[in-house]
Amino acid sequence: MLNYQTPLDLAFQALADPARRSIVERLTKGPASVSELAKPLPMSLPAVMLHLKVLEESGLVKSHKVGRVRTCRIEAQPLSQAERWITERRQMWERNLDRLGAFLDDTKPEQEP
C-alpha cells in the first residue's frame, strides 16, 4: 500500500523541485529540446536529464528523439481536465500558427529582403 502511488502523487513529487517546475513551465509554452531546456538552468546537462527522467516517470512530460535531438513536451493526460482543455486549445492555435509560418515562407516574394 505504501508503494502505491497515484498519478497525482507522482505529479506532485515531480513538481516539488523548482528546477522541474521551471522545466514544466517552459514546456507549457510548447515543445523544446533538452538543450533548450537546460540553457536557462544553473546546472549541468546530465543534471537536467535526471530531472527530465523524474518528469517522464511522473507522466507529466514525454520525449522523443530525432537524430541527435531529444524533444520534450507536456503530456496532457495527468493534467486536470481544465488544463487539458486549455492545452488542447493552445495546440489548435500552435498548429495553425505553424501553418501560417509555412504559408508565409511559401508565398515569400523574391524582392522581400
Binding site: 530525432v66 482543455w85 486549455i86 529582403p113
Partner: protein
Amino acid sequence: MSQAEKSCATYEETQIMNRSVVHGSFTLTRVYDAPFARVFQAFANAEAKAKWFEGPPGWKLIKRGFDFREGGREHVSGRFDNGTVTSFDCVYHDIIENERIIYSYVMEISGRRISVSQASLQLKPEGKGTKLVLTEYGDFLDGYDDAGSREHGTGDLLDKLGKSLQA
C-alpha cells in the same frame, strides 16, 4: 419526495454532472520571417487565411464564411472521419491594420458548445520580421470530453515531426 423536489434534485444532479465553466488563458508568441503587412494580410485576406487556418489532419472542411471587418463574422466548420463535427464562429471587434486584431469566438463540437473565448492578436516589427503575440481568455464549458482531440493532437505532433524532417 414530492414531484417538485424530485425534479429539483434531478436538476441539481444535472448541474453537478454536466454544467461547468472553467476559465483559462494562454499566450503564444511567434516570430515570422516576413514583414508585418504580409503577416496581417494572412489574417485579413479570405483566400490567404483559408490556406493555413483549418482543423487538424483528418479534418475536412464543410463550410467557410469570412467577413473581415469590425462587427464582421467568420465561420469555419469541418468533420473528422469519425463523424465529429467542429465549428468555429468568430466576431471581429477591433481591427487596426498591420497591428492588432481583437475577436471573440465560440467553438462547438457536434452541436455542443465547448468554449467561448476572447482573443487578441498583436503584430510588432522585429528586425526584418514580425513578432506575433496571441493571447486568449476562454470560458471552457460543461466537462468537454475532448471528443478524440488528444488523438488528433498526437497526429499534429507527428505532422510537425514530419515537417521538421523535411526542413
